[in-house]
Subunit: 359 residues, 2 copies
């Protein structure tokens, strides 16, 4: 009997297999309005309100590296990436459950620092850390966070509601997280080289990373855009679709288009790029637009809006219109700064389980 390696079908293929196995458990629950396939599951609480819920697993050496991640930031990011999924539904977080598995090397102070980061960040999002689980780990640290949030049913933005003619918008500026990671990896390698050769690695030999602060911050301490959700609620705007940018703009826009059955046309020149990401890309002889398109982890919001709502967002300093939704048959296109159209599907995003040859 032969077994199929997961890399043969990739992360999204695996999720499709899992979806079809668990589908029968969802079909008998009419109150489950959305299962696998969006940023959150959506569960009806009453005729007018829903709960949204999401979970993320963070593993040492897969999702974070303690050589480049301060513990306080690790705790903060674990909360933010989940709250970001809540925001991507146009909802606000209520409470979180946190599980942690600890190797024997972990000290009490270590755990306290991680939870301090979580607690401080949860307070910022008005989210209660309501419970969880602690366990030993025979490998590295494992953190699992689940966040539940709430919204009026009619305010929820799914991935599936985009329609031709809708404006495509992003918040903040992109590419910072990928650029910050580049700098952190370079510094890590410098450190490891010093250690390997028995040379000291201290303040005197460390690079001055201050000029990269914004990008490193975007990588280590991303913020969930709850301020944007509050802006939407205040102005009575419900995006026709929304997702948070965790895999990269190209891949996340493709998720919206696939679920909505539409195409998209965005313009490279309109994509807001973090200025430090441009400097870092220059240093590494990369293209900063690629950081934005396929770097991921910026945790900004990507959403679509009926054109009539343009005036409501036009004056917001942190929302940028980057293109328009098109009929499905037009495909996913990026017009580059020379006016050439590039097929966005040829630009990958982050994918666990991809074949080695691909990434």
């Amino acid at each position: 009997m032969s077994f199929k390696p997961i890399s043969d079908i990739g992360e999204f293929g695996l999720i499709e297999r899992i979806s079809s196995i668990v589908a029968p458990t969802c079909e008998t629950k009419p109150r489950l309005l959305e299962g696998i396939g969006d940023d959150c599951a959506v569960y009806e609480l009453s005729s007018s309100t829903v709960q949204v819920a999401t979970t993320d697993l963070l593993l040492e050496q897969v999702h974070f590296d303690l050589l480049t991640t301060p513990l306080q930031h690790l705790g903060s990011k674990a909360i933010s990436v989940n709250v970001s999924d809540i925001c991507a539904m146009n909802a606000k977080p209520s409470y979180a459950l946190v599980s942690i598995a600890l190797p024997s090397k972990a000290s009490v102070e270590f755990v306290e620092t991680v939870y301090s980061g979580m607690s401080e960040t949860a307070t910022r999002y008005n989210t209660a850390l309501a419970g969880g689980d602690t366990s030993a780990s025979s490998g590295g640290i494992v953190i699992s966070v689940m966040v539940a949030g709430e919204a009026e049913k009619e305010r929820i933005s799914y991935r599936k509601g985009a329609e031709p003619g809708n404006l495509i918008c992003v918040t903040g500026s992109l590419g910072g997280a990928a650029a910050g990671l580049k700098v952190l990896m370079r510094e890590k390698n410098i450190m490891l080289e010093h250690i390997k050769h028995g040379e000291k690695y201290d303040k005197d030999v460390m690079s001055n990373l201050e000029e990269y602060n914004d990008a490193i911050r975007q990588q280590l301490l991303p913020s969930a855009r709850i301020d944007i959700v509050e802006f939407f609620h205040r102005h009575d705007i419900t995006p026709t679709s929304m997702i948070d940018i965790s895999d990269g703009l190209a891949s996340d826009l493709a998720h919206i288009c696939k679920r909505s059955g539409v195409g998209a046309h965005i313009e490279e020149g309109r994509i807001p790029i973090l200025s430090q990401a441009r400097h870092i890309a220059d240093e590494f002889q990369d293209d900063a637009v690629n950081y934005a398109l396929s770097g991921g982890e910026d945790y900004e919001l990507l959403f679509t809006l009926k054109e009539e709502h343009f005036s409501a967002i036009a004056s917001h300093p942190d929302i940028t219109v980057i293109g328009k939704i098109t009929p499905a048959e037009k495909g996913l296109l990026l017009s580059d700064i020379y006016g050439m159209n590039i097929d966005l599907k040829t630009i990958g995003g982050f994918n666990h389980f991809r074949k080695k040859a691909q990434g």
Copy 2:
């Protein structure tokens, strides 16, 4: 600077530290009725209904061993242990989120088998598998499950409501999970010995485990007692306190007593022990009562009841009264079959992070 190893304060010490760090995030959320400290977090949905939510992290080599655990059972148990926490609040499950991290050795068929076990068991509990996360793992398999449930606010049973004079009851029979684990570990060691010596290990040399089926089943395929919750709801019974037996009867009764500020007096002769657990204990020259008191993982319910409700439960074939709640100053006592009183606090339960010398 010196760091305190977690084994210095143990699992419950660690949970206390975490509770105090996250407390400020809960204090500003009046709708969070219960945070860390019970089987579930309790969140108010309306003036009459609450949501309960729980999460558990399962790690390969810490919580399960693929040499002795069929994948289908692994998936089933991951759901059951969480639904058991929902039942321990006298609530019923609504939906679950499941995260899984997979080492490169895992195949597509492997994942499908685990999720089939989850799906089948979730269907039995009328619980939707509504979402989750998939990821690569650089170590073993990690499964994180979160389950949310619902109940009328006045039906919820906390750990903290036991009062002197209340009857102490358990469901089912105990000790099976620990006894089953003993048999599985013995078989695993036989297998490893065969492999070590280059001898074949197949059906001909495998022990016939049929006579241990009930105990092994309790270990590998525990059931959450949702039938008991339904019985309570049907008979309008709300236990004054309740917990599921995951750490062992002694330890879990101590949790109820600590949170309720009471003592307890139980009788060894009344503790329902799985008859196979007695046979297995004889084989291993163990005491089956110890499997029940400190083995854990039976996932039966331990609850306290006002005496006036005795008649309602008296005829239930699967509920046994094992003692009475006493004032706190009486302590936690077990009368053994010779009438001697033993301090239950001297009998430990399961504790991650315990010092090596202790366990």
